[in-house]
C-alpha cells in the first residue's frame, strides 16, 4: 500500500497529527476539559467552512478559528458549571454558521463531507508541509508549557502561590488544543476529533503512568491508532475515520482492563 503516493502522504500526515494530538489529549483528559476540545472542533468547522466560502484554504480557516476560539475560551472565566452551558451554546452556534456557509457555497457536499469526516487520502504536499509545521510548533509549545501546566492542573492554588500564572497557562493550553484540533480535523474530520485526541490521551491516563511517560504513551497510541486505521481502511475499503474511531474505543477499553 506504500507504493502509492497518496498513501505515503496519508501516513506522514497522520503521524504529524497523532504525535501532537496524543500528548495534548493526555492533558485534556487530566484536566477534565475534553468537552472544550470537542467544542473547539465545531468552531473550527465554522472557520473552515467560512474560509472555503471566501476561497481561502480551509486548513487556515480551521487553524485560525480553533486557536482564536481556544484563546477566547481561556481568557473568559473558569466557573465550570456555567461554562459547560456557554461552551455548548457557542459550539451549536458555530455548527449553525458552518452549515450556513456550506449552503451558500455551490459545490458544498464534498467539502462538507471532507470537513465533517476527514479526508486523509487527499492530502497534498503543501498541506503536509503545513501539518508538519503545526505539529513541530505545537510540540515545541507543549514542551515549554507542560511543566507549569501539570502543576496548575494538579494543584492550581499552590501553583498560583509559587508564581504560575494560571490564566496564561490555561489560555495557552486551549490555544494549543485549538491547533491540535484543527490538525486532527484534517484526518478524522471535525466530528471525530475526539477519537484521535481524547481517546489515546484518556487511555494513557488509565494506564497510570508517570506524567512524562503518559504523554509519550498517548503519542504512541495516537500514532498506532491513526496508522492502524489507515491500514485497515486500505484492506477493507471502509473509511479511515471509522477504523480510527473503532481502534480508539477498543484501546480505551483495553487500557481499563489492565488496571489492577
Amino acid at each position: 500500500m506504500l507504493a502509492y503516493d497518496f498513501m505515503r502522504m496519508a501516513f506522514a500526515a497522520s503521524a504529524c497529527v497523532a504525535l501532537l494530538a496524543g500528548p495534548v489529549g493526555w492533558f485534556l483528559a487530566l484536566r477534565g476539559q475534553s468537552f472544550a476540545g470537542h467544542a473547539l472542533s465545531h468552531i473550527a468547522f465554522a472557520g473552515a467552512a467560512g474560509a472555503a466560502l471566501l476561497g481561502v484554504s480551509p486548513l487556515a480557516g480551521l487553524l485560525g478559528a480553533a486557536v482564536l476560539a481556544g484563546g477566547a475560551m481561556g481568557l473568559t472565566g473558569r466557573e465550570t458549571g456555567e461554562r459547560d452551558v456557554a461552551i455548548g451554546l457557542v459550539l451549536s452556534l458555530a455548527m449553525g454558521f458552518g452549515v450556513l456557509f456550506l449552503h451558500l457555497m455551490t459545490r458544498s457536499t464534498s467539502t462538507a463531507m471532507a470537513l465533517l469526516f476527514g479526508n486523509v487520502l487527499g492530502v497534498s504536499a503543501g498541506m503536509l508541509a503545513s501539518l508538519a509545521g503545526a505539529a513541530v510548533g505545537g510540540l515545541a509549545a507543549l514542551g515549554a508549557l507542560s511543566r507549569p501546566l501539570l502543576f496548575a492542573s494538579l494543584q492550581p492554588e499552590l501553583a498560583e502561590a509559587r508564581g504560575v500564572r494560571l490564566r496564561l497557562v490555561s489560555t495557552l493550553f486551549l490555544m494549543l488544543v485549538g491547533a491540535a484540533t484543527a490538525e486532527c480535523a484534517q484526518i478524522t474530520g471535525v466530528l471525530l476529533v475526539f477519537t484521535l485526541m481524547v481517546g489515546p490521551g484518556a487511555a494513557a491516563q488509565r494506564l497510570g503512568l508517570a506524567p512524562l511517560a503518559g504523554m509519550v504513551c498517548a503519542a504512541v497510541l495516537a500514532l498506532g491508532e491513526a496508522w492502524g486505521g489507515l491500514a485497515l481502511s486500505w484492506w477493507t475499503d471502509w473509511p479511515v475515520s471509522f477504523w480510527i474511531a473503532v481502534l480508539s474505543v477498543v484501546v480505551f477499553f483495553l487500557a481499563g482492563l489492565r488496571r489492577l
Partner: protein, 256 residues
Amino acid sequence: MECEAAVSCHDVTLAIGGRTVLSDVCLSVEAGSFVGLFGPNGAGKTTFLRALLGLVPVLSGEMTLFGASVTRGNRGVGYMPQSRTPNGGMLTGRDLLASGLSGEKWGLPRVSREGSAEVEAALEAVDAASLGGRRLGSLSGGERQRLLIAQTLLGSPRLLLLDEPLASLDPVRMREVALLLREVARKRGMTVICSAHDISPLMGVMDTVLCLVRGRARIGPVDEVVTGPVLSELYGAQVEVCHAPSGRVLVSADGL
C-alpha cells in the same frame, strides 16, 4: 533573647473584590510557634493566608515574613490550600509531589535525581513512603492529607501555612494529623499557621491562637484565649470550654 518574628502585621487591611475582609490587623507571630487560626465561615482565614503568600494585595499597612516584605513565590513558605481538585486520580502520590518541584518553570516535567530524593525525604518525614506509589484516586481523606503535608515540606520552608488540613476527617484521624503536624514542625523548627474549624483537635498542638471575627484579629496564648468567656465574646454565642479528667480540653458551642 529576642526572637525574630516569623510573621508581623502592622495595621493591615485586606479586601477582596472591593469588600474589606480584615482591617487594622496588628499581630506578630514568634518564630517556631504553632498558631491555630480560627473564625467562623467567611471570617477571612483563607484570605489572610493567601495574603501571606502574596496572592491577596495588602490594601494598607505592612506585612512582613521574617523581616522581609511579602512576595509571591517565596520558597521559604510551604502552603496547603483549602480546596482540592479531583484531577489526576490515576497519578501516584510521587507524581503529585514531583509536579510541584520547580513547577513554575517552563519546560518538560522531568524529575531530576535530587528532585526524587527530595520527594522521598518529604514522604518519609510524614511516614507516607507507602502512599507515594498509590494512585491519588484510591487514597482516603486522611491519606491524601498526609501526602499534602509532605508536599508542603518540599524546599524545606521555614513557615507552613495550612488551610483547614483537618477538614472532613474523622475525630481520630484529625488528632492523628494534628499530632503529626506538631512532630514535623518541631523536628524542623518550622513556624506553623494552621486554620481549623474545631478548636479541640489542636489543643496541646498549638501554642498560640489567632481568632478572626467580624473583620478583626485577636491573637494570644492558648490558655488566655481558649476560655469560655473569651470565646463566647468572640463568636457572639455561648461557648463552653470543658477540661476533661484525662487532661483533654473540649470546646463546645450552643446549638450543638
